[in-house]
């Protein structure tokens, strides 16, 4: 039996604006998503902001009803049998919120142990195990309002695991977490998957997805644009070389100029304070250093490095391709 089955899932949001004559707007957040996750698999769902990742997870974890399509978790339909689904899943979301600030970590876990049906005789032992697992032993009696983001995130994970879920949904768990805490978190997630827990992970950190995931689906504009192992996704850009160029003050017109250089397949910019890293994907072996650098005319440049394509490059290529073919998001009704 599959752990997760999503079959042409769709979700439309309806909003009204204006008064007294309100205008109704429909937005299709998820437009026919289909995928399967095997038991014990660590499955990544990647996509830009607003791509439909969280909406997909909310449909799978029963917080939202699909507008159409079906989804099952270990055979239980998420729309018709939500209680059975909830017994088998855990949900961890990133960010500062989602915990009772006035309570200690221990009381937060005690309360959710009651809510998630952990038997009274097992609660003490289970909570102690989880505090140990996430490294909060010794701090468990402190109020959560004094916790760092990393500590909160670890507490989120402990909460999600209280009832030994078969499927764990991790929605951007490492958002805003420092590198050391993020590494610990990745280790915890990898250990869970190794122990047989099915994990569905959404993240913006490609290195995290590359390290952890057995398979990855890239979602953009509410549709799955690519699905496969990290290696197979990387192979989509295997016919490319990548130039990483440090630039100071490269505007949109410069990047557009770079994209128009014959043989350039795409370009993306990452701002790091004053310096930008511009990643330029070119046809393999095209030797486009000179024309690409010439396109930066007037912009101060730093280091230029040529490298093999990474998962991030594959992701950017897929998302840019999707953006090129995207339909308008808002459909007035």
């Amino acid at each position: 039996m599959l752990a997760i089955e999503a079959d042409t899932l769709r979700r439309t949001y309806t909003s009204r604006t204006g008064w007294p004559r309100s205008r109704r707007t429909e937005t299709e957040a998820v437009r026919g998503v289909t995928f399967e996750v095997k038991p014990g698999e660590l499955f990544g769902l990647l996509g830009p902001n607003g791509a439909g990742k969280t909406t997909t997870i909310k449909m799978l974890n029963t917080l939202l009803l699909p507008t159409s399509g079906t989804a099952r978790v270990f055979g239980h339909d998420v729309a018709r049998d939500p209680v059975a689904v909830r017994r088998r899943i855990g949900y961890v979301f990133g960010g500062d919120r989602g915990l009772y600030d006035r309570l200690s970590a221990l009381d937060n876990l005690r309360y959710f142990a009651e809510l998630y049906g952990v038997a009274a005789r097992d609660q003490k032992r289970r909570i102690a195990e989880l505090l140990d697992l996430v490294g909060l032993v010794g701090r468990e009696k402190e109020r959560v309002e004094g916790y760092s983001r990393g500590m909160r995130q670890r507490l989120h994970i402990a909460r999600g695991l209280l009832h030994h879920p078969d499927v764990l949904f991790l929605d951007e768990p490492s958002i805003g977490v420092d590198p050391v805490a993020a590494r610990d978190l990745r280790r915890t997630v990898a250990d869970l998957a190794a122990a047989g827990t099915t994990v569905l992970l959404t993240t913006h950190y490609m290195a995290e997805a590359d390290e952890l995931c057995d398979r990855i689906a890239v979602i953009a504009g509410g549709r799955i644009r690519a699905l496969g192992t990290p290696g197979s996704l990387k192979s989509r850009v295997g016919d490319r070389d990548v130039l990483d160029i440090e630039a100071y003050g490269a505007g949109d017109e410069v990047i557009d100029r770079v994209r128009r250089v014959p043989g350039v397949r795409g370009a993306s910019v990452e701002d790091r304070g004053a310096v930008q890293t511009v990643s330029v994907q070119t046809d393999r072996g095209a030797e486009l250093h000179a024309p690409v650098l010439a396109a930066f005319d007037g912009v101060r440049l730093g280091r230029v490095v040529s490298r093999e394509p990474s998962l991030e490059d594959a992701y950017i290529a897929i998302v840019e391709e999707a953006a090129g073919s995207a339909a308008p998001e808002g459909v007035p009704a």
């Binding site: 974890n61 029963t62 917080l63 989602g98 009772y100 309570l103 009381d107 009651e114 809510l115 009274a120």
Partner: protein
């Protein structure tokens, strides 16, 4: 087989009770804004006590009603601060902490989950009413016979229960609407005006009296006044208060279930 069934039923009852009592107690500490001593004393004890004095002295000045009417009525009404606002906070504050999604993912039955949240406010309301009644009676010199105390305790308990159910029904609106504390503010004023706890109901128009009959505290205030005046416990009034409380409790459970279902369909909860 029979023994297995009994054990299974016993286990389920134990789990139900724990969610109701333990879950309710922890959620009270997590979600009630006035648990710190300064807030508790100032908002729930001193404020209502001063309100008793205000109405008693105003009543003496205007000759609207005697001390007993205002003192006992306002003491019963004192439970409303914790019960109405507490019931609202018990649901609406989940939005504030971003915990609503995690709560709604619970596979547990919703009746003990939500009713457990109202339970601490029943005890809180009972304590506040008893304190205000005792303190005001001592300061203003209102004699209350020892024989009336058990009945008074029962009436105040039922009043606090009915008022907590009312608060939970208002809190249920927090699953659908963001600014639900606005509703609580209006509801507090409605209780002050329509229950007859502070204003003699005989002076109100008929439709207001009818509305007051459907609100918590109305019948309890009359029952408490009768007890402190030396009369016995009026079972009809106590039963009416119980029925009103049960009605609001039922409405709260129905609204919570309906809004939870609606939120899945319409995505109206900012759950994460």
């Amino acid at each position: 087989m029979f023994r297995f069934r009994c054990r299974s039923l016993g286990f389920r009852f134990h789990a139900f009770s724990r969610l109701l009592v333990v879950g309710g107690a922890i959620s009270y500490r997590a979600l009630f804004n006035w648990t710190t001593p300064p807030m508790f004393i100032g908002t729930l004890l001193v404020g209502p006590l001063l309100q008793v004095f205000f109405f008693v002295f105003l009543g003496r000045e205007l000759g609207v009603a005697d001390d007993r009417f205002h003192l006992v009525g306002n003491a019963v009404l004192a439970a409303s601060a914790s019960c109405v606002y507490g019931g609202t906070m018990a649901v609406a504050n989940e939005r504030r902490y971003g915990t609503l999604g995690a709560v709604l993912l619970s596979p547990r039955h919703r009746v003990p989950l939500w009713l457990g949240r109202a339970l601490p406010y029943v005890l809180n309301g009972l304590f506040v009413s008893a304190f205000v009644l005792t303190a005001a009676a001592l300061v203003l010199g209102l004699p209350v016979s020892a024989g009336a105390l058990p009945g008074l305790g029962l009436v105040l308990l039922v009043a606090a229960g009915a008022c907590s159910a009312f608060g939970l029904a208002l809190g249920a609106l927090g699953l659908r609407f963001r600014d639900v504390f606005l509703v609580s503010n209006v509801a507090s004023s409605v209780l002050l005006l329509l229950t007859g706890a502070a204003v003699p109901r005989g002076t109100l128009p008929g439709w207001m009296r009818t509305a007051g009959d459907l609100l918590p505290l109305t019948h309890a205030a009359d029952a408490a006044r009768g007890l402190t005046a030396g009369g016995g416990l009026d079972g009809r009034l106590l039963g009416a208060e119980l029925a009103v409380g049960a009605g609001w409790g039922l409405l709260a459970v129905v609204l919570l279930a309906a809004f939870e279902r609606g939120s899945r369909r319409r995505a109206t909860l900012d759950t994460m």
